[in-house]
Symmetry: C2
Subunit: 175 residues, 2 copies
DNA sequence: ATCCTCATGTAACCCGTTACATGATTAA
DNA sequence: TTAATCATGTAACGGGTTACATGAGGAT
C-alpha cells in the first residue's frame, strides 16, 4: 500500500505514539514543519482515508463531552510505513524560497540587494530561535528527531553566517 | 498589481532579457530550480494572464514556419516587478524534503538509519554536481545569480559534510 | 531517415491552504 | 467570566504537476 505524501507524516507520527488529529498537527508544527508541514484540511480527511484503507484505526476516547478520536496504526499501516522507510525510491525534494528568488533577481533593483540579504537573514534568525527553543525544551529519547533538528540548526546557522559575510563584503565593495 | 507566485519568476526572467515561454522554462530549470521551479502547465497560461493584465507583451517572432512568441515587460510589468523586489512582505518559505522526513522517523526502523543518511547524501551530491556544472559553464555578469549559486553550493556542501560526519559517528557508536 | 531540440499548449488530476463553523474544557 | 487550548471538521479556492498532443527545424 503506497502512502500518499501526507499519509507519510501522519503514519510516522502515529508510530511514535497513538494520537488524535489535533495532536498530529501540533507535533508536525513543533518538529517537522521546517522540512515537512501539514494542515488540518489535509490531516482529518487523510485520517478517514487511511482508516478506509485499513492502515489506521480510530478509537473514540472523548474528554467528558468533547469528542476525541485517537488513532493507532494497524499491522498493515505499520508495514506500509516500514516499506516506505526502507524503500529506495526517488525522494521528494521541493522548495520555494522567496528570499532566494528576490536575491536572484536583485540586479533589477541593485540598491535593494543588501536589504534583500538582511531580510533573508532575519527569516533564518527567527527560524534558528525556534529550533533552539525546541532543542531546549525537548528530551530526545529518539535519535531521528534529534538528528534532523541538529542538521536544521546547522544549515540555518550556515545561511545566517553567509548572509553576514556577504553583506559585509558587498558593503566593502561599494566604497 | 500584486504578482502571483509564478508571475514572480516569469517577470524576473523576462526582465533579465526578452524570452519565449520555452526559454523561461529552460532558464528556471538551469538557474532557480534549486529554490523555485515552474512547469509549462503554469508558464504558458500565466503568460496569457500577464498579457491580459498588461504586465507583459508578446510579439510573434516565428522561426520559419514554427510559431514563436517572445515576451517583453511593459512599464507596468517592470513596476510590478520592482514593487515586489523592494516590498517588505512576509517571504514564502516552503520546503518538502522526504530525506529529512525519513531520517526523522528512522527510529521506526533503526537498522535503516545509516542507509537513510546515505540516500540523503547521494541526493545532495547529485545536486552539488549540477550546481558546479552551472558554475563552470556560466559567465556571471550579474551578481544575483552568482550569489544564489554560491549560497546553494555552500549549503549543499554543508549537508554533505554533515551526512558524512554523522554516518561515521553512528558507525563508531554501533561498535 | 531519424532523433533531438525548439516551441506551444491543454485537460485531468492531485494536493494543499485558508477560512469558516462549532463547541467543550481548562487556566487565569 | 473570559480567554486560551483542545478538538473536529468542511467547502471554496488556488495553485501546481503530469501526461498528452502537435509539429517545425536542425543535427547526425
Amino acid at each position: 500500500m503506497e502512502l500518499s505524501p501526507t499519509a507519510k507524516v501522519i503514519c510516522g507520527m502515529i508510530a511514535f505514539g497513538r494520537r488524535t488529529g489535533y495532536e498530529i498537527k501540533q507535533f508536525v508544527d513543533k518538529t517537522t514543519s521546517n522540512f515537512w508541514s501539514a494542515s488540518y484540511g489535509q490531516i482529518y480527511p487523510e485520517l478517514k482515508r487511511l482508516e478506509d484503507q485499513g492502515l489506521v484505526v480510530g478509537r473514540e476516547e472523548p474528554t467528558g463531552e468533547r469528542a476525541r478520536t485517537v488513532y493507532d496504526l494497524t499491522p498493515a499501516g505499520q508495514a506500509a510505513l516500514e516499506e516506505w522507510l526502507t524503500a529506495d525510491r526517488v525522494l521528494i525534494d521541493e522548495s520555494r524560497d522567496e528570499g532566494m528568488l528576490k536575491l536572484f533577481f536583485s540586479d533589477v533593483v541593485p540598491e535593494q540587494r543588501i536589504e534583500n540579504i538582511r531580510a533573508m537573514r532575519a527569516v533564518h534568525e527567527r527560524k534558528l530561535a525556534v529550533l533552539r527553543g525546541i532543542e531546549e525544551q525537548t528530551r530526545f529519547v529518539r535519535t531521528g528527531p534529534y538528528l534532523t533538528l541538529q542538521l536544521g540548526i546547522g544549515v540555518t546557522e550556515f545561511v545566517i553566517n553567509w548572509c553576514e559575510e556577504t553583506e559585509r563584503r558587498l558593503l566593502a565593495e561599494e566604497s
